[in-house]
């Protein structure tokens, strides 16, 4: 019972839109089954996990720290930046080409949920490892596993300052002059799990921060070429701690693991994650029934992300023909490249993102990028999309009839007013600009 409406929804709402060559053909057959196939058997693209860059950039960094010559500092900066831009390019190219586009959308969603930012330049070289070891393996697994992997990853430990948080009553605090830092503990409670109105207090934040003391990095640089997780038992605050009314006995690294597992399966967490995912994929205002179905699936499986994702896919609201979401900026760029059949170089990807004010892995704060339509379609942002679309359209070689391309890409979604605009365009490049600016293409 597949229609071309459903094919377009599967492509655009749950992926990066139709490709110029394939049109709607990618989801020929049963779009829903094909989406569920993807989450049943997600693949980790091997070519993206290359670690060469990370060792190199930290080698230069530690050399530059020991010996602050201009040349070494320049090399370290360059290696870090190359590593970051190379990763961004690989990632965006993969989104454009993959045969599992829904998996990429899920990865992007979870990676944004657990935002780390290059505002702290030290995380630049760690992004690739973060995404491939802490996020990707878990997108259809247990949320607790993802949460623990994230909280113990150097990128997050550095971004939210836990790498330097040590128990006030420990040897570490006395000799290294480092004490408690509550940043990570607070943001896990507030942003990653139960949410700010879950009724916890400052005492809970401090108790949880104490449980997380010692979750830090290998500090002996000769042991590792780049930052790696290490639990420092002698920096871990001793004694029992009470979080949300439950007391955890002193148990080293296992204290925070137990607390994270509890938070990951908390009903408040279920509600927040279900709401957030529905708002990301389906609508700024998803129905309470959709949220409830997703939340229940999550809880029944003890924090099961596969079940929650599947519940969203199987809900009728997810297949409403109304295009309720505005594309995010990165998705707008990838879907434009697909629609135009454009093969970007690293330069194109990076400057496109920059000129549309979207810097990957540089969200303004630990909340990550917004899921609101009003954020992505703000007045200034829309004009920039038009300016960018105009640049992209003139770079397309070969002859295309914008109206025919519109029919091929949008299928039944091509509206009369868009068809009229495409037919009346004064040039091919203006027509292609209009195609990228059409409501059918701005929305999903």
């Amino acid at each position: 019972m597949s229609s071309s409406w459903d094919q377009y929804i599967a492509l655009s709402r749950f992926g990066y839109g139709p490709d110029r060559e394939e049109g709607l053909g990618f989801y020929r057959g049963r779009p829903l089954d094909r989406l569920i196939d993807q989450i049943t058997d997600p693949r980790l693209p091997k070519h993206l996990t290359d670690h060469g860059g990370i060792e190199l950039s930290y080698k230069f960094l530690s050399a530059a720290r020991k010996n602050k010559t201009k040349e070494l500092v320049r090399l370290a900066r360059k290696a870090m930046r190359d590593n970051y831009m190379g990763f961004v390019y690989d990632l965006f190219l993969h989104r454009q080409k993959t045969d599992q586009p829904f998996i990429e959308r899920l990865c992007a969603f979870w990676s944004n949920h657990f935002t780390v930012s290059i505002d702290k330049p030290v995380v630049l070289g760690l992004l690739r490892d973060y995404e491939y070891t802490a996020i990707r393996p878990y997108i259809t697994g247990r949320f607790a596993d993802m949460l623990i992997a994230v909280a113990s990853h150097p990128a997050m430990l550095l971004y939210l300052d836990n790498a330097q948080s040590f128990g006030p009553n420990t040897l570490f605090a006395r000799f290294a002059k480092r004490g408690l830092n509550e940043n990570l503990a607070r943001e896990i409670l507030e942003l990653h799990t139960i949410g700010v109105d879950a009724g916890y207090s400052q005492h809970d934040v401090i108790a949880f921060a104490k449980m997380l003391t010692g979750w830090s990095l290998e500090l002996r640089q000769n042991r590792t070429p780049y930052p790696k997780f290490h639990f420092h038992a002698r920096g871990h605050e001793p004694g029992p701690k009470t979080l949300l009314g439950r007391t955890y006995k002193e148990d080293g690294i296992n204290e925070a693991k137990a607390a994270l597992s509890m938070l990951a399966t908390h009903p408040r967490t279920a509600r927040r994650l279900a709401t957030k995912m529905a708002r990301h994929f389906i609508s700024d205002k998803p129905s309470s029934n959709l949220i409830m179905k997703m939340e229940q699936a999550f809880l029944r499986g003890g924090g099961d992300l596969f079940a929650m994702t599947q519940a969203m896919l199987r809900h009728s609201e997810s297949w409403l023909q109304d295009l309720r979401k505005v594309k995010t900026t990165p998705d707008y760029i990838v879907s434009s490249f697909r629609a135009l059949g454009f093969q970007p170089k690293e330069f194109h990807t990076v400057t496109s993102l920059h000129s549309l004010d979207y810097l990957p892995f540089k969200a303004p704060d630990p909340q990550g990028f917004s899921d609101d339509n009003s954020y992505w379609a703000a007045p200034g942002a829309l004009v920039k999309r038009a300016e960018w679309a105009q640049e992209a359209a003139v770079r397309i070689k070969g002859k295309y009839d914008p109206f025919m391309l519109g029919k091929q890409l949008f299928g039944p979604y091509l509206s009369n007013s868009t068809a009229f605009a495409l037919k009346g365009a004064e040039s091919q490049s203006q027509g292609l600009t209009l195609l990228l600016m059409s409501p059918e293409f701005q929305r999903r």
């Binding site: 509550e182 004010d357 703000a378 409501p439």
Partner: protein
Amino acid sequence: MPEYEISRRNFLKGSLCACIAPAFLMGYPGLSFADVPTDKRLVLVFLRGGLDSLSAVVPYADPGYRLVRGKLAVSQKDLLDADGFFAFHNKMKPLHELYQKKELAVIHAVATPYRERSHFDAQDLLENGTAKPNGTDSGWLNRAIQVMGGRSGESALGLSVGPSRQAVLRGDASVTSWSPSYLRDVNEDLISRIARMYEHDELLHRNLGIAQENMGIADTKGKVGRGDRAFIPAMEAAAKFLVRQDGPRIAVVDLGGWDTHVNQNGRLSNLLGILSEGITKFRLKTPDDIWNKTIVYVVSEFGRTVRPNGSNGTDHGTAGMSMVIGGRIQGGRVISQWPGLSENKLFQRRDLMPTTDLRAVSKTLLGVHFGLSPGAIGRDILPGTSGLAPVDLF
């Protein structure tokens, strides 16, 4: 004229009919602004992340200051004295000069009614103007615009500078927005064609119309700052909008990055320098007669812990500071009922104790600067503030 050209007025009204605009209207964006109900201006500068006020306007003569701040205490040689008790961080030299000209007042130990420590709730509460996070959907500056007579679909009295609209401007009164672009302009014809495709899409149609209003007003191309420094051209653009006779009256500009949990001294000096440069740029671009009708109001969602944390930084605190800057204020003063820094004087034994409600400052600006009635302020704009004494700023 091609039949798809639409006048800007009609974009704003969300009209579905593609009216043909008189040719003289096109290309004169100024004409589309209606009479503006006030000639007073306000720029809200929002320092997001929680400014460490004890490092910006430093209570250096408080006997507890060096003791409690330890390594984070600003050294004497980096201070510019204000009144024998407080001193400005030397990166704020231009602001110190405004202070000496009596055009800048500091309100210290000030806080919103928020007493928890989440950035996002604290910002939301400051922006919605109630005493609760998510207390209402609209922002207090939008409601102030409505009280002044700005309405949905009419000329925008509000201006959001930056990539997305700040919550303090959210609401029914129309608000325009501007952010810098690195790209080649699109022409009027292309925008009209796009607008026509959006006739049945309320959100896209409205926002494109707003964007079109702004094209050409603030041309700061080639001067786009990167990262935090983007604040400086943003302030310049705000000035260009606000000096227009028929332009917006209330602008909001963000400067983020104040959440200094780790090794804060370097980052903080950098940001204080950028803040000062941006405000200086705004002042330079504002002619004196307009400057006398303008207030720059600097706020942050909360202060930071009085003691350093374990990483030479500070964690989320409670009271902080605010600044009010303008040509016609009684400046040159640090207004504060200083609570002191000894442990028993701190809020929850960790944060600077709030002694002034930030809404009292906001209320004073609305009442004295804009001349809005106490009833409207206490009922519609900042509910629950009728009992707050105004702050002696004018």
